[in-house]
């Protein structure tokens, strides 16, 4: 487990978040505080509003109610937050390095510094030699790693990840999970990670926020926050790993489709 300083000021405060579409509220009463370098996973049944919550936390989709605060800090060469999307969404008209530089443009950096700052995270995800390639020449897994490098390049305080491995095949997914577990110890960013894969959440996170409880017109909310509290090294093989996964599965239940039958 990464060292998380409980005393350090939170890098993300979210209070009483409600969100939905139009008059329809799908998720209500979400509170979240994330500390520096902490890894929080958000899980829940399909359609519960996990990705929508992530968008609300970033401001990409304004919440119906509640407040989100991500302190910017004094630095002019970093961004408060960045994001890894479900699909890599690289700009196909930019070479790999230029894609990673996207978030650095407009910051107080010279051209040379920008280039260096883009190559660092590319090296971190093992793609430095692909810097001058077009995204279309990379595999899906490589593209997603470029997406991670793009997000790390801005040295965010909070890195949001929206089911980043869900579109990948099982082998690549497992490989990238391992890389992320390793990477999270080498980055200063706190991570908020949305996934539908409970094993993935327990494998990577310090805390797992479980969403659910939608009944008829009653919106879903936070059912529980589970502390994983297992060492990151060989976590999957740890005796308690399966218990944590089962506990969360039990909290989520059979899902709305099964519950209705």
């Amino acid at each position: 487990m990464a060292t998380v300083s409980v005393a350090a000021p939170a890098v993300l405060h979210a209070r009483d978040i409600s969100l939905g579409f139009g008059d329809d509220t799908i998720l209500a009463g979400v509170d979240l505080e994330v500390r520096p370098q902490e890894f929080v996973a958000v899980v829940g049944a399909s359609g519960v509003g996990k990705s929508t919550l992530l968008r609300a936390l970033t401001g990409l989709l304004p919440p119906q109610r509640g407040e989100v605060e991500i302190p910017r800090g004094e630095a002019t060469d970093t961004r408060a937050w960045s994001m890894v999307f479900q699909a890599p969404r690289l700009f196909p008209w930019r070479r790999v390095r230029a894609n990673v530089e996207l978030g650095l443009e407009g910051l107080a950096l010279s051209r040379a510094e920008r280039r260096r700052r883009a190559l660092e995270p590319l090296a971190l995800v093992g793609l430095e030699e692909f810097a001058e390639r077009w995204p279309s020449t990379l595999s899906g897994g490589q593209q997603q790693r470029v997406g991670i490098a793009r997000a790390l390049a801005v040295k965010p305080k909070v890195l949001f990840m929206d089911e980043p491995f869900s579109a990948l095949d099982a082998i690549t997914r497992r490989h990238l999970q391992g890389e992320l577990a390793d990477l999270r110890q080498r980055t200063e960013a706190a991570i908020v990670f949305v996934t539908h894969d409970i094993e993935e959440a327990v494998l990577l996170a310090d805390r797992v926020m479980v969403l659910g409880g939608k009944r008829g017109d009653t919106p879903a909310g936070v059912i529980d926050v589970v502390e994983v509290d297992l060492p990151l090294t060989a976590r999957r093989e740890h005796a308690e790993f399966a218990n944590r996964v089962q506990a969360i599965e039990h909290l989520i239940g059979p899902g709305p489709a099964a519950a209705a039958t």
Partner: protein
């Protein structure tokens, strides 16, 4: 059926063209076609040479090229600008939507009376007529291309601090829509040549006027020389444009 190789296809195409010319020549010599109405293909190189030696060919081609270039440049620039703005700014889109619907069906040549009234019988009038046809092609191509840009790219731009209008325009909308915008530009280059001859028929010096003079004298061989000149110039422009387009869109798989 077995697909043809590229060289085999070119060879067959060349055979088709040569066969057509032979059929044309033989039909005239055999008296199947009236020589007063259709020129002998074999006479065309000689007529072209004469036009070149007299300097007429260069004069009329340069004249046409000057108002073609101005018309195409102006029509393309305005068409792309208005099309992109309409696709990005809903209020502007709504403001001009009915006006565009009203003006769009009017063919470029219907503007000739106004072109003469506003500019007189001079190259500016021809450039104006050309620019109208080119404008609409570029307008619709750019509008559709920008509207079709994956909104996910805009979300990425916002997430990485590039959410303001100018950044999204230059870093997302224009590069993402480039294939469609360039398709419009290319179609506009062709449309410009179609309009240039018609625009010159009312007395502006250029290829069209020379063709009208020749047809008045039943010099059909000269008419064909300039028909082929237009075809050649169009092919040359298209070839150059395609090379530039390939360079710009080299990121496409």
């Amino acid at each position: 059926m077995k697909p043809l190789t590229r060289s085999r296809r070119s060879l067959i195409s060349a055979q088709g063209l040569v066969g057509f010319l032979i059929l044309w020549e033989v039909s005239l010599r055999a008296g199947l076609l009236p020589g007063s109405l259709v020129p002998l293909p074999s006479s065309i190189p000689g007529v072209l040479w004469a036009e070149l030696i007299d300097g007429i060919w260069f004069e009329v081609v340069l004249s046409s090229l000057s108002h073609y270039s101005v018309g195409v440049a102006l029509g393309s620039l305005l068409g792309i600008s208005v099309g992109v703005a309409a696709a990005l700014v809903p209020r502007f889109d709504a403001l001009h939507a009915w006006l565009a619907r009203l003006l769009r069906p009017i063919p470029p040549l219907a503007w000739i009376p106004f072109a003469i009234i506003w500019f007189g019988v001079n190259p500016s009038a021809a450039a104006f007529i050309i620019s109208i046809g080119v404008f609409w092609i570029n307008y619709f191509a750019s509008y559709s291309a920008v509207r079709a840009v994956d909104p996910g790219y805009n979300e990425v731009a916002i997430a990485f601090g590039q959410g303001h209008f100018l950044a999204r325009l230059t870093k997302v909308s224009l590069p993402a829509a480039a294939p469609g915008i360039l398709g419009g530009l290319r179609a506009g280059l062709g449309q410009g040549w179609m309009t240039v001859v018609a625009a010159e028929l009312f007395g502006i010096p250029g290829i069209g006027q020379r063709m009208m003079e020749a047809s008045g004298l039943l010099a059909t061989d000269i008419v064909v020389v300039y028909m082929l000149t237009i075809a050649g110039l169009y092919a040359l422009f298209d070839f150059i444009f395609m090379a530039i387009q390939r360079r710009i869109l080299r990121w496409q798989p």
